[in-house]
């Protein structure tokens, strides 16, 4: 069966909206509700964060959501069960994103197999080195039809971007600035130069821009250079204060698209 991410990109090339949120936040079982609402609202991709005790690449908003999720009792096993439940209702691609250690403890092969069984299409592990991926992860990813998505940042060299392009099978996650996650108001001219450079590289994979995309303005800007954008912290801030998840998730997506 074709991976849903690849299928999506075959049909749609622009204005792809991917939304990230942390599993088990704001309450333990909201993961499923949020995912279903996101599809209904018109999101193209769902990225679900695997909570971790020490999220070093994240800013305050996602840090807090990780802590709350863990305090709620979120586990990898439960997340995979929730993903399975989500897949019963949702057709769009689902990726899991998180720090390597929880996946490593679960067992890489077992994780890939169970994630695939739960209807997960891709995995983003930002602290997984490329050589380790090639050595121990590539095979179970391929065997379980799990797409690999890697990050690039404005300081990533062209040679390395090409290497990352070669190893990526879903899309490339282009981090908009050298920073931890979190909303910023707008892109600087330097960032736009970097996006243009990426556009010019003629990569095999499409790229989506993430980090600092918080509203329609930044999303549209991202879409002028990339196939779309990823919203994380801004969405999580909304979830934290939401009274009616279903309605507010739909309204949030409308304000972006």
């Amino acid at each position: 069966m074709k991976n849903r991410i690849n299928y999506l990109f075959e049909k749609k090339n622009k204005e792809i909206l991917s939304i990230f949120f942390t599993a088990g936040f704001p309450t333990l079982n909201d993961t499923v509700t949020i995912a279903i609402a996101l599809e209904k609202a018109g999101a193209d991709i769902i990225e679900i964060g695997i909570p971790f005790s020490d999220p070093v690449a994240d800013g305050p908003v996602i840090q807090e959501s990780n802590k709350i999720a863990l305090d709620n009792g979120m586990t990898v096993k439960l997340l995979l069960q929730q993903a399975k439940e989500i897949r019963r209702h949702v057709q769009i691609p689902i990726l899991l994103m998180g720090y390597l250690n929880p996946v490593y403890q679960y067992g890489v092969e077992r994780f890939c197999r169970d994630a695939s069984d739960s209807g997960v299409d891709g995995l983003i592990l930002p602290d997984l080195p490329l050589d380790e991926f090639e050595k121990d992860f590539k095979k179970p990813f391929e065997e379980n039809n799990i797409a690999s998505v890697f990050l690039i940042s404005p300081t990533t060299s062209e040679d390395r971007i090409k290497k990352i392009d070669k190893l990526s099978t879903g899309f490339i996650y282009a981090v908009s600035s050298s920073s931890t996650t979190g909303a910023k108001k707008e892109f600087s001219p330097e960032q736009e130069t970097y996006f243009k450079k990426l556009q010019g590289l003629k990569l095999k994979n499409r790229f989506l821009i993430g980090f600092g995309i918080s509203n329609q303005q930044t999303f549209i800007k991202a879409c002028t250079y990339a196939s779309g954008g990823i919203v994380g912290s801004a969405f999580i801030s909304l979830l934290k204060s939401a009274k009616d998840l279903d309605t507010e998730v739909v309204n949030f997506v409308k304000t972006i698209k």
Binding site: F52, S53, D54, P55, V56, A57, D58, G59, Q63, K67, L70, T75, V76, K77, Y99, L100, N101, P102, V103, Y104, Q105, Y106, P126, D127, L128, P129, D131, E132, F150, L151, I152, S153, T155, T156, S157, R160, V175, S178, S179, T180
Partner: protein
């Protein structure tokens, strides 16, 4: 058996550089240049000059006669507590700031637990006229107040880490986040043999001056460069790495690492990673890590802020796995008592971290002929509040 780092940045099964892409260029720049820079004559000359004239090296190797008598062995103390700023930490910060300058960096960040590494970093930043930000857990700021003020006097900005248990692990998280946000002009001076490759190797090399001196000094003292035992405490493991370094390939030298058992390894309040940890990934490397079955890092505990860390450096994980180093542990109580014992027998009040190493003496079966070197990594001045709060030095047990 090879105990040093391999080309891929691993010590056996441990090590590597598990970092998000935003940090890759920084770490890669370091990796590709550090050996060439620190092995150059120019660098070595400046490094050795500062170690001698600024840090006060070589530090003495002192025959502790009354302690020897008590424990029925020949015990030497390697007096790292006499280094400028009060601990071995400055050996590494001198090395790294010289390296940072060669790399053209303008700003320095660091994490600190007990505050010793923070002070050592603030000190070299003042010396070199560089901007300095130190992250420190809020709990540690409270229990090591004098060091917080020392850093402020030296002109460093101390930023409290308020996540988790607000100790060393959390300070390290914040420092890494800072580095991600300032990748071009900033060098991160990691204080222990932890972090992504090449940090563990780089820090071990800068600290290896300790064992280099021990060999020379022991030869002068006894005619033999090799002791029977070298004992050092292990939090992340930088002073132990330095004290063990030149003995690693001399298998007849027994190397003893002493971890903090906190209130006991069978309580939930401990930092004895080799007992309680399993292989995992944190702060850029694969090593032994205290964690739940679900891969969440467990908050450690020790009375000593410098040992209050849920992992150990990858080099130590490898030394543990291969059995090259024997790991023991000492509880808060054992360490405090050993600290007072050393004070009473030798007139030296040790840092509580170093007191853990002293506490190992009564856990070893020593003979009179055994030559034992304890790496006395730091002095106890910073720990006065903890000693006072504990208070038992006033009691009958001594």
């Amino acid at each position: 058996m090879k105990y040093t780092v391999d080309k891929r940045g691993y010590y056996g099964n441990f090590g590597g550089a598990y970092i998000p892409e935003m940090l890759y260029p920084n770490v890669e720049e370091l990796r590709s240049k550090y050996e060439q820079i620190i092995e150059s004559d120019d660098f070595q000359r400046e490094f050795m000059h500062l170690l001698k004239n600024y840090v006060g090296r070589p530090t003495p190797l002192f025959l502790a006669k009354r302690l020897s008598e008590k424990h029925n062995a020949t015990i030497y103390l390697k007096r790292e507590d006499l280094c400028h700023t009060g601990a071995h930490k400055i050996n590494n910060t001198i090395g790294q700031i010289l390296l940072a300058k060669k790399l053209g960096k303008q700003k320095i960040i660091a994490e600190t637990g007990a505050g010793q590494h923070g002070v050592a970093t603030a000190t070299v930043c003042a010396l070199m006229g560089m901007e300095c930000v130190v992250y420190m857990g809020q709990l540690d700021m409270e229990r090591q107040r004098p060091n917080v003020e020392r850093m402020a006097i030296l002109g460093a900005k101390v930023v409290p880490a308020t996540s988790g248990k607000m100790t060393l692990k959390d300070a390290t998280n914040e420092a890494m986040r800072h580095w991600i946000n300032h990748p071009v002009d900033t060098h991160y001076i990691i204080g222990s043999v932890v972090g992504p490759h090449p940090y563990p190797d780089m820090v071990a090399k800068f600290q290896s001056v300790i064992s280099d001196e021990i060999k020379k000094q022991l030869t002068e003292e006894t005619g033999n460069p090799f002791p029977d035992y070298v004992i050092a405490c292990v939090g992340g493991g930088s002073n132990a790495a330095g004290a063990f370094y030149h003995f690693l390939n001399h298998e007849h030298v027994k190397l003893i690492g002493v971890e903090a058992a906190g209130k006991g390894v069978d309580t939930n309040e401990s930092a004895a990673t080799t007992v309680l940890g399993k292989i995992g990934i944190l702060h850029g490397s694969k090593s032994l890590l205290m964690q739940t079955g679900d891969g969440q890092v467990i908050e450690p505990y020790s009375i000593s802020a410098g040992l209050d860390y849920p992992g150990i450096g990858p080099m130590h994980a490898h030394l543990f796995e291969t059995g090259r180093v024997t790991f023991l542990n000492a509880t808060d109580e054992e360490a405090m008592q050993a600290g007072v014992e050393l004070s009473r027998l030798e007139g030296i009040i040790p840092a509580i971290e170093s007191a853990h190493a002293v506490a190992a003496l009564s856990k070893l079966e020593l003979n009179q002929e055994d030559v034992v070197v304890i790496n006395l990594s730091g002095r106890g001045d910073k720990d006065m509040d903890t000693y006072i709060k504990w208070g038992k030095y006033k009691s009958e047990i001594f």
